[in-house]
Symmetry: C2
Subunit: 174 residues, 2 copies
DNA sequence: TTGCTAAATGATATCGACTTTCAATTTCAT
DNA sequence: ATGAAATTGAAAGTCGATATCATTTAGCAA
């Protein structure tokens, strides 16, 4: 084997997962609730004429409670702990649905697996990723956002969304 | 089929490929040469005790001349025009080599295909991607970079590299 | 509650983009 | 030129994502 393949959390690349810590512009920690999201999901299902099932409910709840950038495989594993017959395909379809409803964000950190992130209730954030210990810190910086808009405008663009990832070493690893 | 799969340039997602235009901070266009890179490659091969082959030479040259964010499939197609027996695996291995040598950058724009970008000779740049016509504009903004470093430092990080992508609509599509 | 019908589920098959394997070929130091 | 070592191309293998399909379920109507 030339290059080992990454398959699970035990052998993650240095930038894919890790505990989540959030900071706003002033470095205050923030928290997320999970109740409201289940309500949003219920609304979204109703709006589309979709059915409310045990599986969807449990998968969504498990995802909303997850604090990492979770992959389908990891989520499936968690879901099966309480619901052993739950299929991978259902987890896949539910996460696709959550993404369409705006309740999850798909991310690619370059390890070949799509990872899902909870939508923050306090707005957009970007990522700082430690290349050694895998810590992922989320941050917000309004000034950077404004500069991005300004730059884009100068080039004739209207920016709809963006992605900013900073890779480096955290204070414990530098 | 539930979701059509993207396979080639004719059916790209609105953000994957497109002609490349580069702007520096003052919106002046810049150009790239290709000679120096072949020399760098030769050095890199020698340093590693690797052999200089027709295939590597031709694949690298084709890539260096490509002006888009090219996928392996697209590059293989181009290479086969002049070298019909060239295999996909060789293109794959050569691009892996170029990436390791720092002469190519792997990128994921979310369409499931890895795309390769030429290393700019005038430093790091970021991307503006039109969601409608697929135009990809590259830009540089030193102020944003400085702010990123500042933010990271405040959170105890040393930034090694970063990725900034702005998705929106260009002046022709807004 | 019961029956019905469309939607959802889960097991499995398929797809597609890599990635590896291996026998044949080529490079290059001697 | 020669032989060891690297490279190549074809084909097979891998793995995550996605589709298929028979069975099960949700939710409305009687």
């Amino acid at each position: 084997m030339e290059t080992p393949k990454i398959k699970n959390t035990d052998n993650l690349p240095p930038f894919a997962a890790g505990a989540r810590v959030r900071y706003n512009k002033n470095q205050k920690m923030t928290k997320q609730r999970t109740e409201t999201k289940m309500e949003l999901l219920a609304n979204c299902l109703e709006k589309r004429g979709l059915k409310s099932t045990k599986q969807r409910h449990y998968i969504a709840d498990t995802f909303f409670r997850s604090n990492t950038h979770i992959s389908l495989e990891e989520l499936h594993k968690k879901v099966k702990r309480k619901s052993p017959r739950a299929g991978y395909a259902t987890v896949y379809r539910t996460m696709k649905l959550l993404t369409e409803c705006g309740l999850a964000i798909e991310r690619q950190f370059g390890d070949g697996q799509t990872r899902f992130e909870n939508v923050p209730e306090d707005g957009h954030h970007d990522h700082l990723i430690c290349l050694k210990c895998s810590e992922i810190v989320e941050f917000q910086n309004e000034t950077i956002e404004q500069l991005q808009d300004k730059t884009a405008t100068e080039l004739g663009f209207n920016v709809v969304r963006h992605k900013l990832e900073l890779y480096g070493y955290c204070k414990n690893c530098k």
